[in-house]
Symmetry: C2
Subunit: 547 residues, 2 copies
C-alpha cells in the first residue's frame, strides 16, 4: 500500500484555473474549431459589437469589413465602425479580457451578452499567429484617436498592452472603433453569407466588404431609421430562483418587503406586492435583509403563484414584419412569394422573448434549373433554414438548435409542402426564423444554437405555422389558377367543334355560339373558385394552439 498516492500528494496539484486558460484549451467552445469557422468568428464578433454600439448610441451603423490574406493559412481581419467609440481606459479590457463588458449585468436585448466575443478573437490570434490585436478608438469628446496593440495574459485573464499611443491621424472619422486581428483561418463564402444575412436582419445598417481577392461588395440600407430602442427591464417575479432572490434581498435599499417587491421587479405594483406578501404569509413591512431561508422559500412560492402582469414588451426590439419583408425583397428580388409575421412576446424563466418568421418561396436560381426541379418534384431539395438570434445570423449547429427543432416539428404537408418524417420540408423555399430576447439561452459560448426550452420551441412553432398558412393560401391560389388554365385550355381545344355541331343542330351562327360558350365556362370557373373552402386548415391550427 506504500505506493498509494495520498491526499497530500493531490493537494500539491490542486490549483486555480484561469478562465482564459480554460477557453484557450477549449477553443472549440468559443467557435474556433476549424479554420473556416475561426475566420468567420473574427468577422462576426467584431461586426456584432459594432452594430450593438452604434444602435445603442442612436447612430445609423456604417461598417467596413476587410479581409486580407497574409499567407496560406493566415489572414488579417479588420472591422471599422462609426459607433460612439470606447473610452481609452476601457479599450484594453474590452479587447483583452474574457468576461468583461456592458451587457451581462442588465436585462436588455443585445447581440452580445456575455463579454466573451471579441476578446476571444484576441486570444485566438495570439494562440495561432502571436500577432497582437490592434485597436483604434475615437470618442467624440476627445480630439485624438487612441491606439493600442494588445495580447491577453491567459494566466491572469487581463490585457497585456504591448504598445499604446494617442494619434492625430483620422482612422475612424469623428467617432468609432477599428480593430485589426491577424489569425489562422481559411477563407470561404460563409463570410459573405453571414454579411448578407446580417444585412437582412439589420436593414438599417450599411456594410462595405472587401474580400481577400479585392472584390468589394456593398450591403446597403433598406431602411433609413433605427428601430425603436429596446428598454432595460427589471427581473420578473415569475422567473425568480432562490439564490437570485436571496441576493436581491441582501443588496436592496428598500426598507420593507412591499417596497422591495415594487422597486426591484417589473410588473409588480402595490396591489401585486400586497398579494405576494399575503400568499407568502409574510408581513408587508418585513425587513428584506432579515428574511431567512424558510421565509425566502415562502416568498418565492408567493411570487410564483400571485397573479402578476406579463413582463413588459418594450424591452424587445424585433426586426418588424414590414421591415423583414422589405429586407427579404431586397435580397431575393426574383422570389415568387415573400411573407413575414411577428408574434406577440412570450416568456420563459421570467425572460420575455419574441419570434418572427419570414418565408421566401419560388427562387429562380441563376442557372435556370428551377423549372426542371418543379417538374421532378420528388427530388426537390430540403428548404433552407435561416436562423437569427437578436438579429445575429446563426450559421452553425443547425441540428442542435431549438429553432430547427420547432421547424421540423411543424406538419408542413398541411401547407402544401412535401415533408418526409420529422425532417425539414422540401421545396424551393427559404424559412427565416428570428428570436429576440433580453437573454437568449445559447447552447455554448460560441452562440451557434438556441437551447431547447419548451416555451421557445412552442412559440417558434406557432410563429412558423402563422407564416405557413400565408404560404398555403398563396400556393392553393397558384394551384387553382393552374387548374383554371388547364380547364380553359381543354375547352379551347374542343370549343370549335362543339360550336360547329351546335350550329348545325340549331342553325345559329357558330362564332356566336363559341363566344357564348366561352363566357359561360369562364363564369362557372369563377363561381367555383369562390366556394373553395379553407376552413379545414384553420380548424387544425386552432387545435394545435390549444395543445
Amino acid at each position: 500500500m506504500s505506493e498509494r498516492k495520498k491526499a497530500e500528494d493531490f493537494a500539491k496539484e490542486q490549483k486555480e484555473i484561469s478562465v482564459s486558460e480554460f477557453f484557450e484549451k477549449n477553443k472549440h467552445l468559443l467557435g474556433f474549431d476549424n479554420p473556416t469557422k475561426s475566420l468567420l468568428m473574427a468577422v462576426k464578433e467584431a461586426v456584432d459589437n459594432s452594430l450593438d454600439a452604434s444602435e445603442e448610441a442612436g447612430i445609423l451603423p456604417d461598417i467596413t469589413v476587410k479581409i486580407k490574406q497574409v499567407d496560406d493559412n493566415t489572414y488579417i481581419v479588420s472591422v471599422a465602425d462609426n459607433g460612439p467609440g470606447i473610452v481609452k481606459e476601457n479599450v484594453p479590457r474590452v479587447f483583452g479580457k474574457l468576461l468583461y463588458g456592458s451587457k451581462f449585468h442588465r436585462l436588455l436585448q443585445g447581440r452580445g451578452q456575455q463579454g466573451i466575443g471579441i476578446s476571444s478573437v484576441t486570444l485566438y490570434a495570439q494562440l495561432t499567429t502571436g500577432v497582437p490585436t490592434k485597436v483604434w478608438s475615437k470618442v467624440e469628446s476627445k480630439k485624438k484617436t487612441y491606439y493600442c496593440e494588445l495580447h491577453l495574459n491567459t494566466a491572469k485573464n487581463e490585457p497585456d498592452i504591448i504598445k499604446e499611443d494617442e494619434i492625430e491621424k483620422d482612422v475612424v472619422g469623428e467617432h468609432g472603433v477599428k480593430v485589426e486581428m491577424e489569425i489562422h483561418g481559411r477563407y470561404r463564402k460563409t463570410v459573405e453569407d453571414y454579411l448578407k444575412q446580417t444585412s437582412v436582419s439589420n436593414p438599417f445598417a450599411k456594410i462595405a466588404y472587401t474580400a481577400p481577392d479585392g472584390t468589394k461588395t456593398i450591403f446597403p440600407r433598406s431602411v433609413n431609421e433605427l428601430p425603436k430602442p429596446p428598454k432595460r427591464m427589471k427581473p420578473h417575479p415569475h422567473g425568480m430562483e432562490f439564490g437570485i432572490l436571496q441576493r436581491l434581498l441582501q443588496n436592496t435599499s428598500s426598507r420593507t418587503l412591499q417596497s422591495f417587491l415594487t422597486n426591484e421587479f417589473s410588473s409588480v405594483g402595490q396591489q401585486s406586492a400586497k398579494e405576494i406578501c399575503k400568499l407568502a404569509k409574510l408581513p408587508e413591512d418585513s425587513k428584506p435583509q432579515e428574511l431567512d431561508r424558510a421565509a425566502i422559500d415562502k416568498l418565492i412560492k408567493g411570487m410564483q403563484t400571485a397573479k402578476v402582469q406579463r413582463p413588459p414588451t418594450d424591452c424587445l426590439s424585433p426586426i418588424g414584419s414590414a421591415e423583414l419583408e422589405k429586407s427579404l425583397k431586397k435580397e431575393y428580388p426574383n422570389a415568387e412569394f415573400i411573407t413575414s409575421i411577428t408574434r406577440d412576446p412570450e416568456v420563459y424563466r421570467g425572460f420575455p422573448f419574441l419570434v418572427e418568421v419570414g418565408i421566401v418561396y419560388g427562387l429562380s436560381d441563376e442557372s435556370g434549373t428551377k423549372k426542371k426541379k418543379e417538374d421532378d418534384e420528388k427530388k426537390e431539395d430540403t428548404i433552407e433554414l435561416i436562423r437569427f438570434a437578436n438579429r445575429v445570423p446563426l450559421l452553425y449547429q443547425q441540428s442542435a438548435c431549438a429553432l430547427t427543432e420547432a421547424a421540423k416539428d411543424v406538419d408542413w404537408r398541411r401547407y402544401n409542402l412535401s415533408q418526409s418524417g420529422n425532417n425539414l420540408p422540401s421545396g424551393p423555399m427559404k424559412l427565416v426564423v428570428h428570436i429576440c430576447s433580453v437573454w437568449v439561452p445559447f447552447m455554448s459560448e460560441s452562440k451557434e444554437a438556441v437551447a431547447a426550452y419548451p416555451e421557445i420551441i412552442k412559440e417558434t412553432k406557432l410563429a412558423i405555422q402563422d407564416a405557413g398558412r400565408k404560404l398555403s393560401s398563396y400556393l392553393s391560389g397558384k394551384r387553382r389558377a393552374g387548374e383554371q388554365k388547364r380547364r380553359m385550355q381543354m375547352f379551347d381545344r374542343y370549343a370549335g367543334e362543339v360550336s360547329d355541331a351546335i350550329a348545325i343542330l340549331t342553325g345559329k351562327n357558330d362564332k356566336d355560339i363559341e363566344k357564348k360558350l366561352k363566357a359561360l365556362v369562364e363564369s362557372r370557373v369563377h363561381i367555383k373558385e369562390e366556394f373553395v373552402d379553407e376552413s379545414t386548415d384553420t380548424k387544425d391550427v386552432k387545435k394545435e394552439e390549444k395543445k
Copy 2:
C-alpha cells in the same frame, strides 16, 4: 443628436463578469437545464470525482449513493467514497469555486478535466434551495474528519464557509469523502441508467445505491484489480500552437533550443531535436527566451514537418477488450452474442486518444416480445447507442456527438443489419463506444457530447467497423445454421420414404440406408460452410481505411 448615448455613458456600464455569475446565468451550459437532468448531474459529478480520486490513489473504489426526497421538487443527494480524502485546506475550493482542480494543468486521462463539475452542483444547490453543500473529508494522516458547510460566492468565485469543524465521528471510514447537496430536481430512472453504465465502464468499482423510495441496488465489481494507471505525458510537437509554444519557450529552464525540445516534449530525442532545428533553420544552441515571433513561426513549422514518433500510449487507460466483454456479459446475461474490440491509440491536435467498441446482440427483454419483433423485422427499433468518454457514460445530446456521427456513418447493411439512410441501424442490439484521451474535447462544460474532430470520427468509425465484422460473422453463421437446419428438416421429411424406395430397389436394409444418407447430407452441409467467402467484406473495409 443630443439624446445620443456617448462613449462615456457606455464606460460606466463596462465591468468584469465573474465566471460564477456567468455560469449561474447560463446554468444549462453546466447541464442544469431541466429538473431530471439536474438531479442526475449532481450524482454524476460526485461519482466521477470519487472514481477519479480512488483510481488515482490506487484504491479499489467503494461508493455509496443515496437520494432522499424532501418535497415535491427537492432532493438530497449524498455520495460517499473510500478515496484518499481531500486535505482540509483544499476542501472549500474543490467544492466551492469554479475552475479549481488538479486535472486541468496536466496531460493525464481522467474523468474530470475542467475543475467545474462538483462546484457547479454547489452553485446549483444555492441557486435553487439555498441549502449549503455539506462535505466530510478524512485523510489517512489525520485522526479527525474535517466537516464543512459551504456556499459559492458568485461575485468573487470563492467559497463562503458557513460552518466548519473537525469531528471524531466516523463518517467515511479510514479515508474518503462524503458530500451532501440539497437541490431542485425530478427523479427518473436515468440515475440508475447512469450507475449501470458506469459499472460497465468501471468494472473494478463497487457502487451501492439507495433510490428515493428506499430500494437498494448493488452494482458489484466484475474485476478485482484496478486498471494500469495512465501516465502523465508532455505535449507532443505535432499538435503545437504558436501561443502555447511561445509560453513554453518563455518558461523553460533549458538553456538551448535542442535541450528545450528534448526536455519539454514527448517523443523528441536528440535526433528529432536536431532535425527540428535544421528544418527550422535555427541554431541548436539558440536561447529559448530569445526567439522572436518569426523564429517561433519557423520553429513551429519545423516541429510539424519533422519526423517524430507518435505520442506515447501509456498515458491512456482503456477499459480493455476482455474487461469490457466481461462487464457486458455481467450486465446482459441473456444476450445472444457479445463482442468487443480495443483499437490502437491515434492522435488529434497532438493529444493521444483511443476508441473501444462493444456490441451486445439479441437481447431478450423481460416481456418476451423479442420473438415477435424478429418476426416483424420491418418494425424493428433503432439500436441503442451507449457512449462513454474516459469511462464516463454520456447520457444527453446524443445527436450532437462525434461518436454518434461515426456510428451513423458506418454502412451497417454490410454487417447484416437494416439501416435507413444515414441513421443508426435497426435491430435488437446495443452498441457501446468508448473514447479515452488525455483531453476529450467536449461540446460544452456539461460534457455530454464529443466535438466532431475529423480524426476522432474517422477512428471511431474504424473501431465500429472492426466490431461490426465480428457481429457479421456471427450473424452469417447464425443464418447458415438456420439454413442447415432447414435443409436437414427438409431431408428428414423425405428421408424415410427415400430410404424405403432405395431399400426396395436395392434389397438392402432401409434403416441402414437412412443412416448413411443422413451422414452424407451432414458432411455436404459442412463442406459448403467452409467455402463461405468473406473476402468481399474485408476488401471494402481496407478501401475505407485508405480514404
